[in-house]
Structure formats: structure tokens, C-alpha cells
């Protein structure tokens, strides 16, 4: 089992390496020369050459890649071209904001959706199940910008209950902060929960067809215990994978939500970077997103391995 876990981690590292090549090559073949963009009107052949030499842009691509990768590995993410600040300092606060939002959403939505999924699986075909199925299906099909805009329209514009923008000032109290974050939180919780609820329900019901569940029924085990003790542990594998994918989405896929609520998160920073052709910034953000995915998927795999007694206790 240890070997399997180590294997997963090694595969994760290889994946990250391959991704870093893709990110680097991908951003390098974007049209436009960095030196020309930065120097703009002041570009003369001499100044361009000097700039390239200073940044190592005249080196072959693979040398640039190696030094970039070295920087990434040691935490030196390079210097932004817009304003010349270090990228680490730009990302620092933004990453914190994104993680803060993601953490709150995760803490609320993961237990909530697993509980609702279990509830739907416990009473399949009843009104509870139907309401949950109808609700989750509708929410999956509605794009998130629609939910967000709709909420702004109702809660902020019409009712004036909540601010339409989620800028957090450092001296805000916790309550004010939560008021500011309420709408992005609700939007994200709705978006990620719908899928997790459906997968939990499907995963459990799939296991419910097994002969060992029939056996549990014939032993007179109450339905609640059948779901929680007999079915849930056998359905953990697929459920944690969906949870991991949704948590990764919270870090990287929330561009739309961050933009609509003008929330200063990492995804928005990356979009700004793309607009200003700030390639080192885009590269750094992309690597953080990919890293998050890889780490979460590894965690999900390890959780699935640990939940399987065949792998935990070999013969």
C-alpha cells in the first residue's frame, strides 16, 4: 500500500513537470515579443537587445525553461513586467484571498452535499429525492454567471441587503466581511454542491445494488445504518474524486465569480496578467492552479486507497 501511495506521489510530480513544459511552451508561443511590449515606443534595436540580454531572453528556449523551473522550485517566481514588482508579492495577497474564499466554501459545501446526497440515496423515489434531484439538475444546467448576476439583481440592486461588490478592507469586522463575501460564497456553494450531491447519491445507490446490501437488509439492519455503515465506505472512492475536482475548481475556475463580484482573487489576477501580456505572472498563476489540481487529486487517490481494506490490509 505504501508503494501505491508513493507511486501516486511520483506520478503527481511527473504530471507537474509535464504541465510546466506545456505552460512554458504555451506562453512562449503567444504572439508578441516581451521586450517589444515592455519597451513600447522606446524600443530601439539596441535597447531591445540590452533588455533581452538582461532577462536572458536571447538564450535558447530550453535554457530559459530550466532557469524558470529553477526559480519556480525555489519560490522565485520572477518579476512582473507591469510595474516591476516581484510576482510573489503580487500573488501573495491574492492567493490568500482565493484560499480564504475556497476554504469557507469547502467547509460548508462538502459536508452539506454529502449529507444531502446521502439523504437522497436513503429515500430514493420519495419527494425528498425528487426535490433534490430536480434542484441539483437545474443548478448544474444554469451557468454560474447567471446565478451570480441574478443574485446581484435581487439581493443587491432590488433589496439592497448585500453589497454588490466584495472588496474586503483590512479593518472590516468579521460580520462586515461575511456580508461582503455572502454572494460569491452562495454562488460557489451552489455551483460545487450540485455536482457533489448527485455523485454522492449515484455512488451510494450503485453500491446499494450489491448482494452485501441485500444481506444487510435480510439481517434486519435499519436503512440509515445500511447507508452510513455498509454502503458509504464502499462508495468513498468515486465521491472523494468528485470532491477533489470541485475543490480544485474553487481555486482555479472561479474567474467568472471573482470578476462579477470584483473579488481580488488569484483567478482575476491571472486574467489581468493575460490582458497586460504579463507572461511571468500568467505562468506563475497557471502553475499554482495545476499544482492545486495535482495535489488534490493525489489526496483523493490516497483517500480512496486508504478506504479500501483490500489495499490497506494485504492477505
Amino acid at each position: 500500500m505504501q508503494r501505491m501511495v508513493i507511486n501516486r506521489i511520483l506520478i503527481g510530480i511527473v504530471t507537474l513537470f509535464v504541465v510546466s513544459i506545456l505552460v512554458f511552451v504555451g506562453t512562449s508561443i503567444l504572439p508578441g515579443d516581451v521586450a517589444e511590449i515592455v519597451l513600447g515606443q522606446a524600443a530601439t534595436p539596441e535597447s531591445l537587445a540590452a533588455y533581452r540580454a538582461e532577462r536572458g531572453l536571447d538564450q535558447p528556449l530550453y535554457i530559459q525553461f530550466i532557469s524558470w523551473l529553477q526559480g519556480m522550485a525555489t519560490g522565485d517566481l520572477g518579476i512582473s513586467k507591469a510595474g516591476g514588482a516581484t510576482i510573489s508579492s503580487l500573488i501573495d495577497g491574492r492567493l490568500g484571498n482565493t484560499m480564504y474564499l475556497a476554504a469557507i466554501v469547502a467547509v460548508i459545501s462538502v459536508p452539506l452535499s454529502i449529507a444531502l446526497g446521502l439523504l437522497a440515496a436513503m429515500y430514493p423515489g420519495t419527494w425528498i429525492d425528487r426535490v433534490l434531484t430536480f434542484g441539483t439538475l437545474s443548478l448544474i444546467s444554469v451557468p454560474e454567471f447567471f446565478i451570480a448576476t441574478f443574485m446581484v439583481l435581487i439581493l443587491a440592486v432590488n433589496l439592497h441587503w448585500l453589497p454588490a461588490i466584495s472588496r474586503i478592507s483590512p479593518d472590516a469586522t468579521f460580520l462586515e466581511e461575511m456580508r461582503g463575501l455572502a454572494m460569491p460564497l452562495i454562488t460557489l456553494i451552489i455551483v460545487v454542491s450540485a455536482q457533489m450531491i448527485r455523485m454522492t447519491r449515484a455512488g451510494i445507490l450503485n453500491v446499494m445494488n450489491s448482494p452485501y446490501i441485500e444481506m444487510a437488509i435480510l439481517k434486519g439492519v435499519p436503512r440509515k445504518r445500511i447507508i452510513l455503515r455498509h454502503a458509504f465506505f464502499n462508495a468513498i472512492g468515486p465521491i472523494v474524486n468528485v470532491v477533489a475536482l470541485n475543490l480544485a475548481y474553487l481555486v482555479s475556475g472561479v474567474v467568472v465569480v471573482e470578476t462579477i463580484f470584483a473579488y481580488p482573487g488569484l483567478a482575476k489576477l491571472m486574467i489581468d496578467g493575460v490582458q497586460t501580456r504579463d507572461l511571468p505572472l500568467v505562468q506563475a498563476c497557471a502553475m499554482i492552479f495545476c499544482g492545486t489540481y495535482v495535489v488534490l487529486i493525489i489526496l483523493a487517490d490516497v483517500a480512496a486507497i486508504l478506504s479500501n481494506p483490500r489495499l490497506r490490509n494485504p492477505k
Binding site: S210, Y212, E214, A216, L218, K219, G220, P309
Partner: protein
């Protein structure tokens, strides 16, 4: 006073998609008295499992009760509120399912699963339940009772799981046990051990039981009363003596007739003709070792087969027999080229074949065809039968168009199916029909050798005896050779010319059927033959009294690197020799090989004991006269 369980006019229906009901159980009556074992027998589809589950007031999804009553101690359990039914299940009535491997939850320890119902129903506290579980493990002769509860289901063997399920059912001292084909999925030597444990525990606990099975020989060992079912109706019921010895209803008689005959020797067959010249070999396996995992120095990581020597002669049927895990299927896979051997060679018509099927030529592939056990999974459910059969015709022989269709029809006729089946899908066919299509598909290639892997194991006794009849006809008509793999000695004996007995990846005995089924025996073959249940009341007790059964049954298969693999279960084992050296091969008569350390004289000396077992084999008793030298009279006639 009311009976323990009374079933009166029980009716159960399924609903079609359009709402029209399909009757599954059509008014069944029977009674289970306290301390009595009632057997429900019938083919699959007879409703026997559905009826047995009614004793727990349960129906599988899609079915519902629609009439009659099931009274436990006079109280109708079908009309009880759900809570009452739940309190009854696992408490007053307990269920044992067919496949323990599927019935145990893989994620929960054995101990928790065994004690769960008693603790939930408040019969015992967790501590009391743990103590009782350990007692039951001991009574069921399970190893390490103290530690067993902490293990997970995948950590114990199939036969042990089956007995653990009995412990799970008995934990709360139920009034009634429902046993649904509890030994059908087991090997004969495991079956006899589980049967023995069940019978002992049922006697000691004094509980009544409903025993569901299709195997009359098993019923004769355990039941007091038999209910014969067909298509959801009772055909006949009565005491076990009456049904077994004097069946009245035509259907019961048919069932009795389909009971697999005891392994018998038919002197009329040319089986005794023991020519062994290589000219006539279709397939020859020489000195072959194979297994799974990477091969280092000619040794695979996990060795499954060791030093196999065998051959399939032209037009002959070679039966390969052994318990699950002995390497039967692996042998077929190696011959088919699905698994390359680590050592040794496979030759076809005297020419050595490449180990891997990818390097074999199309004509070499065409000559060896594989028939899988599960026709359901071997036949593509989205292709018409005609296309499934037409494809090999086109692939191997380039036959297309009208000629292809004509040959498909011929093939269907050959396997005795109507030709309009070409326009159907496999999902519309019954199990036996699918297996016929499966055979026709292999025959379409016009092979020289068919490798049949447990082709009748998933079928009912009546259906499976029909498939065997078909196979014999096919052999006569087409002249194809067969390698016929089965764990069921009776099936093999009824069809094969030669038998290869595999044990833990090694050939322990091989030769013509008549010589395998007559002494001298390899000790394992003797155990195997003695373990086949007989349709005779009292057989179980009689057999268990024998010395070799006591040793052989108590231990499991161990795959060993050196020595004789059967050492730990052998009543004749010689310590210091059998466990260290590879067994020498004796040839008591031409073509009959026994791999054993004991001298032929010793093996023959035990045959006196064996004669008693053979008395049960009326077929052999009639035809083969066993004299004290251990050589069957047949041989004498043949050779002199």
C-alpha cells in the same frame, strides 16, 4: 399449537414495464416444523429463491407479494409493519446466500458483520456476541477463532467465508435458517466440508431450516422434507425417503434423471485404447511452466503451472479436472496463446507454436478455438447472432455474402438452434441457447481443437446435460478434438476419453478415463472421487468417517515450490520425502501416469479401503471388477 412456519397460497408477481403482472410464484403451500430441514428444489426460474426470501417477508426489487400468507408461529409476517419485519430478519429468521464472497461487505471486518444482527436486535451485547462468535467459529471448525473476527473478508478463503456466513446467520439463535444454494459455488472437497459443518451446527442448535438447491444429491444428505418446484408451482412434496426413492411426479423423475451420473466407465468406448504416439497428437504441451508477473530466469513472479506434460490426441476429448485455483484455465490460456509460457513448449500437429498468440499465424489461430464459460460476456450484446457467427467465417475463410449466411444457418443447425436465431441478439436467448451460440462461434473457424473452459458450469443440471449431449454429437460429426476443463468430475467422466488431474499447478495423474476412475488412484484423485455427493441418504456421514476424507478435507490447497503439492492433505504422506522432492511418476499401465512418492504397492494396498467407496459407484461396480492387485479386470481383458 401452530407450526414454526406455514406458507399458504403464496403468490408473488413481477410487473412488466406497461404494468401487466407476470406471476412468479403461483400459490405455494408448505410447512416447516420445528427442528426440520425442508428443501426447495427446482431449476433456475422455478421461483425457489423468491419463495425462500418470503420467509423473511422480503422480495427482491421489482417483485411484490399479491396473495397468500406466510405465518411464523401463527403470525402472518407479510402484513407486519416494516419495523416488525425488520426485527424478525436476522433475529428469528436468518438468511445464508449462495455466494459468500459477494455477500460479505468488503469494507467491514468479519467480526463486526457476524455479530451485527445480534447486537442490533438487542439479543446480545457486543461482548457477549464476540464470545458467541468465537464459539461458533470453533464449532464450524474455522482456523484461529480468536483472531478471525479482526480480519477482512478478502483475507480468508471461499470455503471459510461460506462457513462464516453460517456463523453470521446463527449468531442470534434464529428459529429458522434460510439457506440459498449455500454450497453450489464451491469445489467438491470444499462443499463436503461446508455441508458437514452446516449439518452439525443445525443439529446442535436445533433450528429449523429451508434449504434451497438444484442439487438432489446434496438434498439427500441434509433434508427431512422435499418440496419440488417448477415455474412457481409445487409439483410434488414429501419426505426425503419418499421423493428420492419413489418419486411420483414426472417432473421429479426428470430431475432425478438429470442428476449427473456418478463418474462411470463405459467399456464400449474406445477410451481404453491407449495409443500414445506423437503422430496422432493435435496439441502437445511439453515440460511447460507458466505464471503471471515478470519472468526472471525462466521463472514467473507467481508460478501457476509447473512442468506440465500432456497432449490432446486427434479426435479425442481430454478432460482437465481440478479445484478452483489449480491452474486449469491458465493451462487453456497458455495453449491458446493468451499467456506465453515461461518454459517448455506448445506444439500443434508436431509443429512448435510461438508462445504469444500475436506471433501465431492466422491458420494456427484458426486451428485452436476457445469457448468461454460465460456466454453472456463472450458474446457481444449489440451484435446479431448472425454477425457473431459470420465474422469468423469471413476472418478465417474469407466467406462473405450469401455463402456466409448459408454457413451461419448450417452452424445454427449444427448446434440444434432454429435458423431464425441469426436475426436475434444474445440477450433474447436463454443460458443454454447462448452457450450453443458460443460453441457455434468457435466451430465457425473450423478448428482442430476446441478449448472449452467450464462451459457447463453456469448452467442448470438439465440444460447442462443437454449441452454435453450436443458436444458428444459435435465430436462425432466434426471430428474436432476437445480440451474440456471442468471442476466437476461427473461431467468430465461422462464425456472425456482421457483425464488430466491437476493439483496446485501440477499434473498428479493422467490417463484414459477408465484408468483414472479405477484403482490405482493418486491420493488426490481418490479424495476428489470420494467427495462427489451421491444421491443416497446417509452418504455424507459414511464418507466423512473415512480416513483420507478427514485429512484431505481439513486442510486447504498450498502452492509449494518443492515436493509434492498434495503433501499437507495426503493421508499417505511421507515426511522428509514428499515435502522435499518432486514425486516420481509411476506408469501402472500404458498411458496411465501417477505422480506419487508412495510405491505402487502402497497405493494399491490402500485400495482395499477404497473398494468401499467404489461400492457407491454402481456404474463402476457393475462394469469394472476390482481384484486385490488393484488392476481392473478390464485391463486384463484388454491386454491378454
Amino acid at each position: 399449537m401452530s407450526e414454526l412456519l406455514e406458507v399458504r397460497g403464496l403468490k408473488i408477481e413481477a410487473k412488466k414495464e406497461d404494468g401487466t403482472p407476470i406471476p412468479i410464484v403461483k400459490g405455494v403451500d408448505f410447512v416447516v416444523k420445528a427442528g426440520q430441514v425442508v428443501a426447495l428444489i427446482g431449476e433456475s426460474g422455478s421461483g425457489k429463491t423468491t419463495i425462500s426470501l418470503a420467509a423473511l417477508a422480503y422480495t427482491r426489487p421489482g417483485l411484490e407479494f399479491c396473495g397468500g400468507e406466510v405465518c411464523l408461529h401463527g403470525e402472518d409476517i407479510l402484513t407486519m409493519p416494516p419495523l416488525g419485519q425488520r426485527n424478525l430478519r436476522g433475529n428469528r429468521v436468518a438468511y445464508l446466500a449462495q455466494s459468500a464472497a459477494a455477500t460479505f461487505n468488503p469494507a467491514i471486518t468479519i467480526g463486526e458483520q457476524v455479530t451485527e444482527s445480534a447486537v442490533l436486535h438487542g439479543v446480545l451485547t457486543q461482548e457477549e456476541a464476540n464470545i458467541r462468535a468465537i464459539e461458533l467459529y470453533g464449532a464450524l471448525e474455522l482456523p484461529d477463532p480468536e483472531l478471525l473476527g479482526r480480519r477482512y473478508p478478502h483475507q480468508v478463503s471461499g470455503g471459510q467465508l461460506q462457513r462464516l456466513m453460517a456463523a453470521m446467520a446463527l449468531i442470534g439463535k434464529p428459529d429458522l435458517l434460510v439457506l440459498d444454494e449455500p454450497t453450489t459455488a464451491l469445489d467438491v472437497t470444499t462443499q463436503i466440508e461446508v455441508l458437514k459443518a452446516f449439518k452439525k451446527v443445525i443439529n446442535e442448535e436445533g433450528s429449523a431450516a429451508i434449504y434451497v438447491t438444484h442439487d438432489l444429491a446434496v438434498v439427500a444428505q441434509v433434508a427431512d422434507h422435499i418440496v419440488v418446484l417448477y415455474s412457481g408451482e409445487v409439483q410434488e412434496q414429501g419426505s426425503v425417503e419418499q421423493i428420492i426413492n419413489n418419486p411420483q411426479h414426472p417432473y421429479t423423475k426428470r430431475l432425478m434423471a438429470a442428476v449427473k451420473p456418478k463418474p462411470t466407465v463405459d467399456l464400449a468406448s474406445d477410451a481404453v485404447d491407449a495409443r500414445h504416439d506423437r503422430e496422432h497428437d493435435n496439441v502437445r504441451v511439453e515440460n511447460m511452466t507458466a505464471g503471471y508477473g515478470g519472468i526472471i530466469d525462466g521463472k514467473p513472479a507467481i508460478t501457476v503451472l509447473r512442468d506440465i506434460d500432456m497432449s490432446v490426441e486427434n479426435g479425442h476429448v481430454v478432460g482437465v479436472i481440478g479445484e478452483s485455483g489449480c491452474g486449469k484455465s491458465t493451462l487453456a490460456r497458455v495453449i491458446a496463446g493468451l499467456l506465453a509460457p515461461a518454459q517448455g513448449s506448445i506444439s500443434l500437429d508436431g509443429k512448435i507454436l510461438p508462445g504469444n498468440m500475436l506471433s501465431r499465424s492466422r491458420s494456427e489461430l484458426q486451428k485452436l478455438q476457445f469457448v468461454y464459460q460465460m456466454a453472456d460476456t463472450a458474446l457481444n450484446p449489440r451484435q446479431l447472432i448472425g454477425d457473431i457467427l459470420g465474422r469468423p467465417l469471413q476472418f478465417y475463410h474469407g466467406i462473405t455474402g450469401k455463402e456466409n449466411r448459408r454457413r451461419v444457418n448450417e452452424l445454427l443447425e449444427l448446434v440444434e438452434l432454429p435458423i431464425d436465431f441469426a436475426e436475434r441478439y444474445q440477450t433474447e436467448l436463454s443460458g443454454g441457447q447462448k452457450q450453443r451460440v458460443n460453441l457455434a462461434r468457435a466451430l465457425a473457424a473450423e478448428p482442430e481443437v476446441l478449448l472449452c473452459d467450464e462451459v457447463t458450469s453456469a448452467l442448470d443440471s438439465i440444460v447442462s446435460s443437454n449441452v454435453i449431449k450436443l458436444l458428444s454429437k459435435l465430436r462425432d460429426k466434426t471430428g474436432v478434438s476437445f480440451m474440456f476443463i471442468s471442476h466437476d468430475l461427473s461431467t468430465v467422466a461422462s464425456f472425456a476419453d482421457e483425464i488430466v488431474v491437476l493439483y496446485a499447478g501440477r499434473v498428479v495423474e493422467q490417463g484414459p478415463v477408465a484408468k483414472i476412475l479405477a484403482p490405482p488412484f493418486h491420493p488426490y484423485t481418490r479424495l476428489l472421487i470420494s467427495s462427489v455427493p451421491e444421491l443416497r441418504i446417509g452418504w455424507l456421514e459414511e464418507t466423512m468417517g473415512k480416513r483420507e476424507m478427514a485429512v484431505g478435507i481439513a486442510r486447504g490447497v498450498e502452492i509449494t515450490e518443492v515436493g509434492c503439492p498434495f503433501y499437507n492433505r495426503c493421508p499417505m504422506a511421507i515426511e522428509g520425502t514428499c515435502n522435499l522432492d518432486t514425486a516420481p511418476v509411476h506408469e501402472p499401465s500404458s498411458g496411465h501416469l501417477i505422480a506419487c512418492h508412495c510405491s505402487l504397492e502402497d497405493i494399491i494396498a490402500v485400495e482395499h479401503e477404497t473398494q468401499q467407496i467404489l461400492k457407491g459407484f454402481e456404474g463402476i461396480g457393475d462394469k469394472v471388477d476390482i481384484n486385490p492387485t488393484g488392476k481392473a479386470a478390464v485391463l486384463t481383458q484388454e491386454h491378454f
